[in-house]
Symmetry: C2
Subunit: 191 residues, 2 copies
Amino acid sequence: MADRPASIPAFADLPNARYEIPAGDSRLRAVCNTCGFISYVNPKIVVGVLATFENRILLCRRAIEPRKGFWTMPAGYLEEQETTEAGALREAFEEAGVKPHLTALLAIYSVARISQVQIIYRGVLPSAELAPGPETLEARLFAWDEIPWDDLAFPSVYWALNHHREVGEAALFLPRSNPPGETGDARPQGL
Amino acid sequence: MADRPASIPAFADLPNARYEIPAGDSRLRAVCNTCGFISYVNPKIVVGVLATFENRILLCRRAIEPRKGFWTMPAGYLEEQETTEAGALREAFEEAGVKPHLTALLAIYSVARISQVQIIYRGVLPSAELAPGPETLEARLFAWDEIPWDDLAFPSVYWALNHHREVGEAALFLPRSNPPGETGDARPQGL
């Protein structure tokens, strides 16, 4: 078995792989020695929503790893055969029991080290009623000065909160991207 | 081997799979009977750029399937450990030999049937010089009334061209999504 090049992520679940450039391809891929399966690992899409009710922001405290016990906006992996909007709404319902109205795309963040693209919408909640699901310890609406800055789950939660604040009441705006110099690898100040 | 549920795409490259819900998961996944590999198939991200030089729009005629011989904006699969912006720029260089300046996010399109999310930027070219790569038969800059509408490669090319036109000179705009009722499955009128 060839050694895994540093440019390819480890495949913990593909125990008997070699690494080669398949015919017609230009990059090294993991290929199963047993059955020939070519693992075209692709970046993963996270969809989420920064949802508000009367200027208070919905955050959920995670009941699962990673970052169990820390706060995030509802977000999770886009599933197969799902649009990005449908995925964001599904996550909001699964994690907080809410059905926001999506009003705009807030941001696309890339966390390249872990090959993740996060597509975060803005949403407005029809009421303050929350019903956390099994992946959420608690869900709450926070005024800006109540946000648990020291207990946010991920850098992108910090980015999304600040970008949401920055956009304010603007009806038209360009969606945000990673803050300059931020890769998502290190936690921003305060996290 | 369990039959493949209709909700799961076929895994042509995983020849000996069963379908089950792994522990801690909530959806059916393909699991290799030989080695236990769980195929978490995720939606794939396409990144691209609608690039212009002095109001003319860059299109490339595809040298590869699918839709060989038809016209598209430069676009392709985002690679591992790549940001969406870097991926769009890489595709522009690979397919047309250009280095556009990305000015805004034009659109996010979801083609749910094939689990694809397309992230399309607007870009401005520094010159009219084009240098098509091996995946491109020819690259050209088209005025609006020269666009080969009958020979576009994909519905999303048609969407992106029209959304680009609709946005016009606006500095601030909300990125577009699928046109109402359009899933990307059927070709729009004129294609």
